[in-house]
């Protein structure tokens, strides 16, 4: 398990840590009261994948094209996040995280979208809060898992 700190849940009274597991779920734990929230957060939204599959007839090769374009844009956004983080430029970090969130949404990459959105929010809101490097590492890891999961889906649906 990897721990990401700090992050906020929607409940402002429970500033929390995020913990990811090897399964589809992401748990959010309050360090103060130890209350644990379980969030179902799959790597990929199967409903969205079904939609992409259905469009293949009208744009042959779309499924593969989506992955290629997503990988390019998501990696570029993640690199931009890293550069902005190193330069301590919260505005750039917010924008790069937003782009990553948008790319993730296009592919139906639910977990990546949520984590990128959280980073975007933290960069925008928590001016005094330190954003730890391993949050970017976590995003990088989730991006890798997302790509693998999508490739597996392509293999299964050949």
């Amino acid at each position: 398990m990897k721990q990401m700190t700090p992050a906020d849940t929607d409940d402002a009274t429970h500033p929390s840590t995020w913990e990811t597991c090897e399964h589809d779920s992401l748990s959010v734990i309050c360090p103060h009261c130890n209350l644990q929230f379980m969030i179902k957060l799959p790597l990929l939204d199967t409903e969205h994948l079904t939609e992409i599959e259905a469009l293949e007839t009208f744009r042959p090769g779309l499924r593969e094209q989506m992955l290629t374009l997503f990988v390019d844009s998501a990696r570029a956004s993640l690199r931009a996040c890293d550069s902005a983080w190193q330069a301590n430029d919260r505005n750039d970090l917010e924008q790069a995280a937003h782009r990553l969130k948008g790319s993730a949404a296009s592919l139906g990459a639910t977990r990546l979208r949520t984590l990128a959105g959280q980073l975007e929010k933290d960069a925008a809101d928590d001016a005094d809060e330190i954003i730890h490097a391993h949050r970017l590492e976590e995003l990088d890891a989730v991006l890798g898992k997302t790509i693998t999961a999508y490739e597996n889906w392509l293999d299964v649906n050949k």
């Binding site: 939609e51 469009l55 009208f58 744009r59 844009s73 937003h98 948008g102 790319s103 949404a105 296009s106």
Partner: protein
Amino acid sequence: MREAVIGIVEDDSAHAALLDAMLARAGYASLVFGSARDFRRRNGIHGVDLVLLDWNMPHESGLEFLISLRKYEGSNIPVIFITSNDQEQQTVEALSAGADDYLIKPVKAGELVARIESVLRRSHVVVDTAEDIAPFEFHMDKRTLTLHGKPLKTTPKEFDLLLFMFRRTGRVINRDAILAHVWHTRTIVPTRTIDTYISRLRSKFGLDGRSGWKIQGIYQQGYRLHRMEEEAQ
């Protein structure tokens, strides 16, 4: 094939490809622009009937682009935002600036098409066939065209192109839009082919003024079909 041509202004290529596929399934021709700058450079305003607009783009944001369209360029082309910005304040800003609708990514194909149709209905950007285009008359059931009640012999492409232009009378239409809608392509057909077709339409159907209608070439922009009396005004 549906009548309207949809412009996608989006810097995320994956999302643009997804929207383009959704529109193709719904029967819409679409043109993709990588930025607001690209839209201007390619004269998008004369190519599309509705714009799907991203918010966060390099150089000029979707909101800045929309404000410019409405305020400084006097365009009332329908605009639907499709963005990851999911805050109420941003929705309000977009609608206040003149957006016709606002959708959050990821969009579902069914909802997207329903929203487009709703906005197109409200904005009347495409002239209905019932509109007076006398002395011409389109018979959609048989895909035939008459002039003063006499049937005209048209090829399928000529019929599509004429219908496309008559539904946009008075508006400048660029070559990209014609290629996308009538030839269902963006690059394969040389633009000279369109010029040849237009020339043929002029002479074959009296659209050089003899029928009371004229196709006018607009330098570096495209073509405009209009009544002769409009030219005189």
